[in-house]
């Protein structure tokens, strides 16, 4: 079984999406030029999710990747809801009041987010009312709490993450009279998801990370070479600080059973996650909810199963680690990706591949004849070579697609091997998960000119 190059391309490009921040009269005042995103499923259906949106009532852009486990329900819910929680957390008091008054009197709401979605990225229509009510309760509390202080982005991010996870948990405990919704909120709560979210506003880049997805900055050195700066810490067994944190939070007696086979309680790879109430609720609560829940839940061995050595819940949190970075003109792009990418590629290679891709397409050095002796034939050969370089290496229109092509198709020499690519992509569904994980990538491109101008202003 063999896939032709066009077939390979149609698989790789099926989920690609690009967004360019619109320029007004050639004056682009955003530090973000735009982004490319893509995902390649290994699970069927894919358990990764991605989101991107522009905050309309505050400045800034939000981008995030979400790696689901035990189903996609939680990742889906987080991808739909988290940005609203963040946006609301960032809103000034007056805007919150205005929104609340509008809801109260049935007037049209100010739009909070402008989504940039691939047609395959859906929203759950059925749950929107439920989700909205939870969100409204949150902003009503924020209104009541009015501290009068300006919103700190770091705090807003942490609050939003924690609040959403809390709401997911509460909704599952309370249930819903509608049986479909009831089952949905339970599936959301019993499945889990990591989240790696970037908030870009001018030169201020915040990364909030929960779990083992990763954010990486591509930096162009003065000599034109590329280097990578990681802007998040993986929350897993490889992270000593994380292991230490978990151990600190539980009695000494559990020290041995907390992390087994590099997994939390011997079960869970990420050490922080949304949902996963099996690692958060008390045993009594879990039993009560499962028993009173719908049959589908009751019949599910996974949900009924209580993790071993489960003594002092919660073992898991959705609280993110937030890293702030001030963008510099040499910071050219940001890669957000789920662990499916990082398992197969070193960050240094990611920086180089994306960097060369972006500059190759946009900034190939112009040729000038100057005072040199060049013949028409030589020039013709030179131009043909330049074109060939562009077309063979850069058949992709999307940096994320290009990265996936490398992640899946790279041979031992670090170049894309079509045969390998074809094999990897034609694996049957049940085998695919053995060879690769879901991969989701967002590549955000920065506008160095705007960033430089910001710097000069200060």
């Amino acid at each position: 079984f063999y896939l032709t190059p066009p077939q390979v391309n149609s698989i790789l490009k099926a989920n690609e999406y690009s967004f360019k921040v619109p320029e007004f009269d050639g004056k682009n005042v955003s530090s973000v030029l735009g982004f490319d995103s893509n995902q390649l499923p290994a699970n069927a259906p894919i358990e990764d999710r991605r989101s991107a949106a522009t905050c309309l009532q505050t400045r800034g852009m939000l981008l995030g990747v979400f790696d689901g486990h035990a189903g996609c329900a939680c990742a889906q819910a987080v991808s739909e809801r988290l940005f609203y929680y963040i946006a609301v957390s960032l809103l000034p008091h007056e805007t919150l009041l205005e929104i609340e008054n509008a809801v109260e009197s049935g007037r049209a709401l100010l739009p909070i987010l402008q989504w940039h979605k691939h047609p395959n990225d859906y929203f759950s229509k059925e749950a929107s009312k439920l989700y909205f009510n939870s969100l409204r309760t949150y902003w009503q509390e924020l209104i009541d709490l009015n501290s009068g202080e300006t919103t700190d982005v770091r705090e807003a991010l942490i609050n939003a993450f924690k609040r959403l996870d809390n709401d997911i948990s509460l909704e599952a405990q309370v249930g819903d009279p509608n049986s479909f919704l009831n089952y949905l909120v339970l599936r959301v709560a019993f499945s889990g998801s990591t989240a790696c979210v970037a908030h870009v506003d001018g030169v201020d880049l915040h990364i909030a990370n929960t779990g083992d997805s990763r954010a990486m900055l591509g930096v162009q050195e003065e000599d034109g070479s590329w280097s990578a700066v990681t802007l998040s810490y993986d929350h897993n067994a490889q992270n000593e600080h994380e292991v230490e944190r978990v151990k600190m939070e539980h009695p000494k007696s559990e020290e041995k059973s907390l992390v087994k086979q590099d997994r939390l309680l011997g079960l869970l790879m990420p050490f922080r996650a949304f949902g996963d109430v099996k690692f958060k609720w008390s045993i009594e609560l879990q039993k009560r909810v499962v028993e009173s829940g719908p049959d589908q839940l009751n019949d599910n061995e996974y949900t009924k199963f209580i993790p071993p050595n489960y003594h002092t819940p919660p073992y898991l949190t959705a609280e993110p680690e937030v890293i702030h970075h001030r963008l510099r003109p040499q910071d050219k792009f940001l890669v957000l990706a789920t662990d499916g990418l990082w398992e197969t590629m070193h960050r240094q290679d990611v920086a180089r591949i994306v960097g060369e891709y972006l500059t190759g397409v946009h900034h190939q050095q112009p040729i000038a004849v100057g005072g040199y002796k060049v013949t028409l034939g030589q020039m013709h050969g030179l131009l043909a070579e330049r074109r060939a370089r562009i077309s063979s290496v850069f058949e992709d229109q999307n940096a994320a697609t290009h990265l996936i092509r490398h992640a899946v198709g790279n041979n031992e020499f670090g170049t894309v091997d079509h045969e390998r690519l074809s094999k990897m992509l034609s694996l049957p569904e049940e085998l695919a998960r053995m060879y690769r994980d879901d991969i989701t990538i967002i590549v955000v491109q920065f506008n160095s000119r705007v960033i430089g101008a910001y710097q000069n202003e200060e």
Partner: protein, 882 residues
């Protein structure tokens, strides 16, 4: 390096040759300040101020001064011939598809040839000839069409074999060629030096030339130019000529009252090389390879080669302050495809050493034709710009026509295709221009086939029915920004895509239009004709009638409710417009003219109607949607919808009445169809348009109604010998010359414009005659189709050209319309054309070099068109909508 070379190309030669040149300039470029001559101060007033010292400005100055006007000032912001003119490739080529452009280029060539002798300035004129290559049969057809029109103008031109092309130019690779066209008299010049020569002659004739003087804006009072403001002071003037090239748009917009000059610059690249080892002869012909998108000329022993790429780079969209011309970058990657084409055409040049890639912006217009004429909003404000990279070819002729226009009030040729007034404000959006010129520039070398529609800048003006018609399969074309239906593609039928539908032969929509025509003949069709220009003229007293009686040749003092077809003639009796006018009341008139008359007709009337607040003229084009109901069953549909009798006794033809249709009241119904078929045009206030359309379609169903488009209309009107303004009729055609004496009332009891000429023609006869030709031995399926511009031969001698053509589904023959002249066999002098002269000839029409026998007629086939009105035996099953 660029600066050095370019100076070598123009200025130095020029100055060396003319040490006596009076430089009336301010500062000169260079480091030395001590040597600068004192700037001559600007005059306080002049009759004419010309802005722009390129080929256009100097040519206008030259021709004005030749015509005896002396009080002229030419202002140049930099130095003479320093803009696009300096960078121009210097090819004078007469092979142009539009007749008036061809004439301009021909005149330019003649002018430049003797210019050196006249002025003493070396112009580098060299008659090299040019070879246009065809890689495909279609290209060869288009070359043959051009060759036919060059030949009948007496310009030597021949279609040659690839082998012959190789003999003319030893470097051409001919293995992929099917033929070529050789024009031996085409020439090369140094365009900057031509411009300087024209300036020198003008200066000797008294024209004042000031360099380093920029015009900031033009002052206009009460619609009349009063002067210009420059950075060195103000000059009062009567006439202003905007020859600012790619800055013309901005200059037009700089004043308080904008003058819209729709043009936009694109980067244009050409390559210069060092000489060949054995330097190329300076008499080697220029090679144009349109399929490869390139041209190649000899240049100082080496070559100069440029082209018009598929992906042009527009620039200066936001105005001139972005970049200076001098700083434009060479872009080799962009030039790559053209370089490939060059080496494919001349593989022997591989080892030739590059000197430079020149980036020279050119300005392009929305329809690939240049812009000349007077502003519709400011009298005395003339424009000559937007040369679509043919500035040097047009320069001489264009300058001459514009000078004539200024001095005489009109040029000596029909320049409507180039008239600024063919555009309105709607073509002057920067976004529109930027998008459109990106389509226009590649078109320079694209195959020009009949019925080409621009694809960019569309869906600007639309009828309220646009979406409805589109959903029913409408295919669209555009006129003056307005979307009009060509035909309706029935569901399920597949037409070729745009690129593959290009043909000189029978088009793929042939049967579709045929069935629309059949339905018009036998049942009823509806055509949305909302794009037509519509004016209302009314007055408190008799002012409207009196003024219109003077401006129109037919008698408009008709009973209220009558519709009159009439020409709007100029002093020479020529058609400035051809329209239908309905008398709505004693004191108000409703006037329908062709779509592209919106600006021209408005200006014409505005400038000639008395300045009287009691006489009001209003453009109501946008207020009405027009539905044309064509066919014998139109009367049934309309009477059922209005509960009013619509038969000929109650509603004779050429009648107009406001009535209700469906629920909608105030619909202006006219019993004309613009096709000679029975039917009505409904002028519907736009908010009722959808309602009336729905009613008509619902009611019409039982009468076999269907939608139709302009292609059907065109076939119907041409087989009926109806002339159309802008295609058949122009400012140089009188009603007498096209058999329309019946639309002229020489005895209407008062004088009207053009009357004298018409009287004279009535007495002494006409020198050309509009004639209808039926092609006899033409196979519609296999032969090339006529288009327009085909030469007409009478007894083997050239007598004129066709102006339009269509397939007549009724006659099952092609019909061409065109003008027949009578040239004296000995002297070539034009003689009177009599009916006998027309009737007693054997005619042939030349389509791309192949001649077809044609039968000439001065009147339509009335017998073939007896109206089968309301005959009940007409079968309708065939015309129900499939």
């Amino acid at each position: 390096a660029a600066g050095m070379f370019l100076r070598a190309l123009s200025d130095i030669q020029w100055r060396a040759a003319h040490p006596k040149w009076r430089r009336m300039t301010g500062s000169q470029r260079g480091t030395s300040t001590t040597a600068e001559p004192h700037p001559l101060s600007l005059p306080a007033q002049a009759q004419v101020v010309i802005c722009g010292g390129g080929i256009m400005g100097t040519s206008v100055a030259y021709h004005l001064s030749k015509m005896g006007w002396k009080d002229i000032v030419l202002l140049e912001q930099g130095r003479l011939a320093a803009g696009t003119t300096r960078f121009c490739a210097g090819i004078v080529s007469t092979a142009r598809p539009v007749a008036v452009e061809l004439k301009m280029a021909h005149y330019s060539n003649k002018l430049y040839q003797q210019l050196e002798q006249e002025t003493g300035v070396q112009t580098g004129y060299m008659k090299t000839g040019s070879i246009s290559l065809a890689q495909t049969q279609d290209r060869l057809i288009s070359l043959k069409r051009i060759a036919s029109s060059l030949n009948v103008m007496g310009i030597p031109c021949e279609i040659i074999s690839p082998k012959k092309a190789l003999q003319l130019h030893p470097l051409i690779n001919i293995h992929d060629l099917v033929g070529a066209m050789y024009v031996p008299e085409d020439a090369l010049v140094s365009s900057a030096n031509v411009s300087l020569a024209l300036a020198t002659a003008a200066s000797r004739n008294g024209v004042q030339i000031h360099e380093r003087t920029s015009v900031s804006h033009v002052t206009i009072q009460k619609g009349q130019v009063t002067g210009v403001e420059t950075d060195r002071g103000r000059i009062q003037c009567e006439y202003f000529v905007n020859c600012a090239g790619q800055w013309a748009y901005e200059l037009g917009h700089s004043g308080e009252e904008p003058v819209h000059i729709p043009l936009h610059a694109c980067e244009h690249f050409y390559l210069l090389t060092h000489p060949l080892q054995e330097p190329l002869s300076s008499s080697l012909p220029t090679v144009v390879d349109p399929d490869g998108r390139i041209y190649i000329r000899n240049w100082q022993g080496g070559i100069l080669s440029g082209g018009f790429e598929k992906n042009p780079k527009p620039l200066f969209t936001e105005g001139r302050n972005q970049l200076e011309i001098q700083n434009l970058q060479e872009d080799w990657d962009h030039f790559g495809p053209l370089l490939s084409a060059l080496l494919r055409r001349m593989p022997g040049l591989e080892a030739l050493q590059i000197m430079q890639l020149v980036n020279c912006p050119e300005s392009f217009t929305p329809d690939m034709r240049c812009i000349m004429g007077e502003s519709p909003t400011a009298r005395g404000y003339f424009v000559l710009a937007g040369m679509n990279s043919a500035g040097i070819s047009y320069g001489g002729g264009a300058g001459k026509y514009l000078a004539e226009w200024i001095v005489n009030g009109y040029p000596s040729e029909n320049v409507w295709p180039l008239d600024l007034k063919r555009f309105g404000t709607l073509q002057s959006s920067r976004t529109f221009l930027r998008h459109r010129v990106m389509e226009v520039m590649p078109l320079m070398f694209d195959l020009k086939v009949p019925r080409w529609d621009f694809q960019t800048g569309r869906q600007l003006r639309t009828s309220p029915l646009y979406d409805r018609l589109d959903a029913q399969g409408a295919r669209w074309m555009e006129k003056h920004g307005f979307e009009r239906v060509k035909y309706f593609v029935p569901p399920g039928s597949d037409l070729l895509d745009l690129d593959h539908s290009k043909t000189f032969y029978k088009p793929d929509w042939f049967d579709i239009v045929g069935s629309e025509v059949k339905c018009c003949k036998e049942a009823v069709c509806v055509i949305d004709m909302s794009s037509f220009t519509k004016f209302e003229i009314s007055s408190t007293g008799d002012q409207a009638l009196e003024s219109l009686q003077y401006l129109f040749s037919n008698d408009l003092d008709v009973p209220v409710g009558h519709v009159v077809h009439t020409g709007m003639l100029n002093e020479k009796g020529g058609y400035e417009n051809d329209c239908s006018i309905a008398r709505l009341s004693k004191r108000s008139f409703f006037m329908i003219s062709p779509t592209d008359q919106q600006v021209h007709c408005w200006t014409w009337l505005k400038n000639r109607l008395p300045d009287d607040s009691n006489l009001v003229i209003e453009d109501v084009t946008w207020k009405y949607t027009a539905l044309n109901l064509i066919g014998p069953r139109a009367v049934d549909v309309l009477s059922e919808l209005s509960y009013a009798p619509m038969t000929a006794e109650h509603f004779p033809s050429l009648f107009c009445k406001e009535m209700s249709v469906g629920y909608a009241n105030g619909i202006r119904v006219m019993s004309i169809t613009h096709t000679g078929e029975p039917g009505f045009v409904l002028y519907i206030p736009i908010e009722y348009a959808l309602h009336v359309y729905n009613e008509v379609m619902n009611m019409g169903q039982k009468y076999g109604i269907r939608n139709a488009g302009y292609y059907a209309l065109r076939s119907l009107r041409i087989e009926k010998f109806f002339a159309f303004w802008g295609q058949d009729l122009d400012a140089f055609t009188t009603p007498m010359e096209c058999g329309r004496e019946f639309q002229v009332k020489l005895d209407k009891g008062m004088e009207f414009l053009g009357q004298e000429v018409l009287l004279e023609q009535k007495q002494n006869g006409v020198y050309k005659r509009f004639t209808m030709f039926i092609l006899e031995d033409h196979d519609t399926d296999l032969d090339l189709w006529p288009w327009w511009g085909e030469p007409i031969f009478r007894n083997g001698r050239y007598v004129g050209k066709t102006t339009s053509s269509a397939y007549s589904y009724t006659l099952e023959r092609h019909v061409c319309l065109g003008f027949v002249h009578h040239f004296d066999e000995e002297t070539g002098e034009e003689l009177v054309v009599t009916t006998d002269f027309i009737n007693q000839g054997e005619y042939e029409i030349d389509i791309a070099g192949q001649r077809f026998q044609a039968k000439a007629k001065l009147y339509p086939f009335s017998s073939l068109f007896t109206q089968r009105r309301r005959k009940d035996e007409v079968e309708l099953s065939g015309y129900q909508r499939e």
